[in-house]
Symmetry: C2
Subunit: 279 residues, 2 copies
């Protein structure tokens, strides 16, 4: 009887438990950006920053960003784009309430990677994004890793509107819980990395000469991109066996390539979920 039960479990459980390595993000949450250096695709995070995502999509839809540029680009830090002139008007360009974090839902799907983390109580993945969680204060948030998209602001928490930045260097983790992160680049980081930087002695990073700034040719909602121009991008699912194995192997460095085996800690910003084109 026990053998029979085991046999039934073996036959039934793997297919029931298996999570596919690759997921296809919902087109509703994707925006395309065209640069001279290539096409960039960003996945938005309405679960974390619904107001930022709604406003950003409205601005994209009306073409607000088209022809604007990356006016503050500091190598190893961020590429900031938008309307540096503050001349462009839009009914959608409103001040946003900060969405730095959210209360952890009762049924959080957070996948732990590192606990405690160096900069947070816990880090891991949330709906495909590198995220932090503090169970004591019942908060979760998106991390500032390479490729993270967040809205720029002045000193006041509720002062963001349309200017945005993308992290292009070592994770700017001091911005976690200080900025509203609302997406991440899932395709085309090389096009971002090829953006024109400010000169090395330019501490503010603001590129004063407009002709030296890289232009945003256009932004489009994925659903407004012609079907034959849409990319079939897939992103790793953090609940899949392939991702678990990659993390486990990072913890132990068990390949013979590694002579020093580390201390088992993982930097989730290094182990971000990978993308592929499913052609």
């Amino acid at each position: 009887m026990k053998t029979l039960l085991s046999l039934i479990l073996i036959l039934l459980c793997p297919p029931l438990l298996a999570v596919e390595e690759w997921r296809t993000p919902d087109n509703e949450n994707l925006v395309y950006m065209q640069l001279a250096t290539g096409t960039v695709v960003i996945e938005l995070a309405p679960f974390m920053a619904p107001s930022h995502v709604t406003q950003f999509k409205a601005l994209v839809k009306e073409g607000f960003y088209d022809g604007l540029d990356f006016y503050r680009v500091i190598d190893g830090f961020v590429a900031q784009g938008g309307d540096v002139s503050e001349q462009k008007t839009s009914q959608h360009n409103k001040l946003l309430k900060a969405e730095f974090s959210r209360p952890t839902p009762k049924t959080s799907t957070f996948t732990t990677v590192q606990k405690p983390d160096f900069m947070a109580a816990e880090t891991g993945f949330l709906h495909g994004f590198a995220a932090g969680r503090d169970e004591q204060n019942q908060q979760e948030w998106l991390l500032h890793c390479p490729g993270t998209l967040a809205m720029a602001r002045s000193n006041e928490a509720d002062s963001a509107s349309s200017d945005f930045y993308i992290v292009i260097g070592q994770a700017t983790r001091h911005l976690d819980r200080n900025m509203s992160s609302f997406g991440r680049v899932i395709y085309g980081m090389p096009a971002i990395q090829a953006l024109q930087r400010a000169e090395i002695n330019n501490v503010s990073g603001v590129i004063e000469e407009p002709s030296k700034r890289s232009k945003i040719q256009w932004f489009k909602l994925a659903n407004d991109v012609p079907a034959n121009k849409q990319l079939n991008i897939q992103v790793q699912n953090e609940k899949s066996e392939a991702v678990s194995q990659r993390l486990a192997s990072g913890r132990t460095l068990d390949s013979e390539f590694f002579h020093f085996k580390g201390n088992g800690n993982l930097d989730v910003c290094y182990y971000q979920l990978k993308s592929r084109l499913n052609n």
Copy 2:
């Protein structure tokens, strides 16, 4: 009398203790690399990896790398260059003994930034480089931060010779104490970030089609670069007050811009020493 003593101390001590914010690296330790995307300057670390530096300089001097290319470039990871064909001969292209770390000298000048660090007993700076230290095992080593230069190898520790890589993404800290790091880019990271990457689905990152690889036009020892083409690059001195203040401010996030003040931990790879052109 006490007042007089204080006055004397005030008058004498600041100039005696002051360390200039900027130092000019020794030309002996600099190499220039010319890419289609710009000029790159690397500071070498003979104090950590003397054999690697000696061999690399000999290879540079004889023009070994000129016309070779970056044949393995993975966005967010490393750009690896050298002779993928293994056809190029040189009397200097010899197998090197690993120089992953060195015994901490009795009079180490290590400047602590973070202790304990997430991935090491201690991290900080050593002669201008982000470094780790383990006082128990009396070892210190260079970290894999963005811009770090190290020699590639196969599984065996002593198998590096001439192919090298530069870290272009989130710090690859699992390579610390596993690879011989022997320098870092102090000028021209944007030129490196603009290198042609492997396609997104190319897991190995090796760019098979030579015409799609970015070329190394040439490498030169700084002393072989014509004087009027040399750049007057300076790097922050980790013992200076300016660097101390930047680190202190990173620990407390005391500007009113920051609403969440963090936990005081610092990622030394984010706080790498800055460069400038002294024109």
